[in-house]
Amino acid sequence: MNNINQFEKSLSKAILMIVALLGLLLTAVTTGNTFASEDTHMGEIHVMDAWVRAVPGNAPATAAFMTIGNMGKMDDALVKAETSLGKRVELHLSQMKNGMMEMNQVAEIALPKGGHAELKPGGYHVMIMGLTGPTKPGTEVEIKLTFRHAPPVTIKAVIKEGKPMEGKMGGGMQHNH
């Protein structure tokens, strides 16, 4: 029975992988144009899929996420973000430390040449505190990004609620029974 379960588990994993890959491929094909129009391409810096998390009306803070590519020949870094949505905007990193999710301000987010930085939930993000207005899903907000070398870029980030998580961290606490 265990063997069948094992086999079934790996089989369904493999099938899930294939379905996921096909899904990704389809998404890429069908939404390729939309992505292109949403991209902000300013010289060597490329900002993709920028979004701000919609939070309840009375929430004190939110965060912005995006992928920043560096097509240049030189290592660069995001050193500052500004938006009128918050009174205080900082670059932050969420990470697991001693079993606790901790969020700390960082001086910069590295953009290696030919590489990219992913700002995503549970990792690097632009922390927006002291919200000056509502975060209405579907609306857009401007964010000015300043880099160490490349000229500043102002991008438009769409406000949305974000997707539920898919369990990338693996199992929970060890069962102790």
């Binding site: 029975m1 069948i4 379960n5 086999f7 079934e8 588990k9 089989l11 369904s12 099938i15 998390r53 939070v55 309840p56 009306g57 009375n58 929430a59 004190p60 803070a61 939110t62 965060a63 205080r88 932050h92 969420s94 697991m96 430390k97 079993g99 606790m100 999710m101 901790e102 969020m103 700390n104 301000q105 939930p121 549970g122 993000h125 922390m127 927006i128 505190m129 609620e161 974000g162 997707k163 539920p164 998580m165 898919e166 369990g167 990338k168 961290m169 693996g170 929970g172 606490m173 069962h175 102790n176 029974h177």
Partner: protein
């Protein structure tokens, strides 16, 4: 030659379907996690005392967080919102308890309005720092105030556990904040169906 492969190829999806059904039917019963959790009393919305035992007969998810948390806590709440949608009418016997780890800034009103935005089944719990620390300790959760250079700004580092508690107040599973919603729904349903250890 080709014909030899057609039949197995056609049968494979059927086989997979039946194997899946078997796996679902023989789904492992969630264990009793006797060393984690227990009865507690905190303040619910409007300052009303709420105990875990008040939810007897309901399946509960318990988590810790705070409203100034812009990343992990909304991520948990968006997942819980999606879980509530997935559970549909089953939410009648299901509640989420979101306990603040920042009682200083999270007033009961702020907390309540914040969490109920994600679903009316989500209840914000509040208390003194000592009361909340005690509950966190029982559940092996932890949190710690993290000051910044600016005296007006601080954050709270906290464990990201979500606890699944059965209709008799017993902890049955613990997840991280990014657990797949389908896994949460599957386990909640198991307990709602009466997957209760006697």
């Amino acid at each position: 030659m080709i014909r030899r492969f057609i039949l197995p190829a056609l049968l494979l999806p059927v086989l997979i379907f039946f194997l899946r059904q078997t796996a679902l039917a023989s789904e492992e019963e969630l264990p009793l996690m006797t060393k984690i959790g227990g009865e507690f009393t905190l303040n619910g919305p409007n300052g009303k005392k709420l105990s875990l035992s008040d939810f007897k007969g309901k399946v509960v998810l318990l988590t810790f967080g705070y409203t100034h948390c812009p990343d992990i806590c909304p991520t948990i709440l968006v997942s819980l919102k999606s879980l509530l949608a997935e559970l549909g009418p089953d939410t009648e016997n299901f509640r989420v308890l979101f306990t603040t780890v920042d009682p200083e800034r999270d007033t009961p009103e702020l907390l309540s309005r914040y969490v109920s935005h994600f679903g009316k089944e989500i209840i914000g719990l509040h208390g003194t720092m000592a009361e909340i620390k005690k509950v966190a300790k029982m559940y092996k959760s932890a949190f710690m105030k993290r000051l910044t250079e600016d005296p007006e700004v601080y954050f709270v580092a906290h464990t990201d556990f979500i606890y699944l508690i059965d209709d008799q107040g017993r902890t049955r599973a613990v997840y991280h904040h990014d657990e797949n919603v389908n896994v949460l729904a599957r386990d909640v349903r198991q307990l709602l169906r009466g997957g209760t250890k006697k």
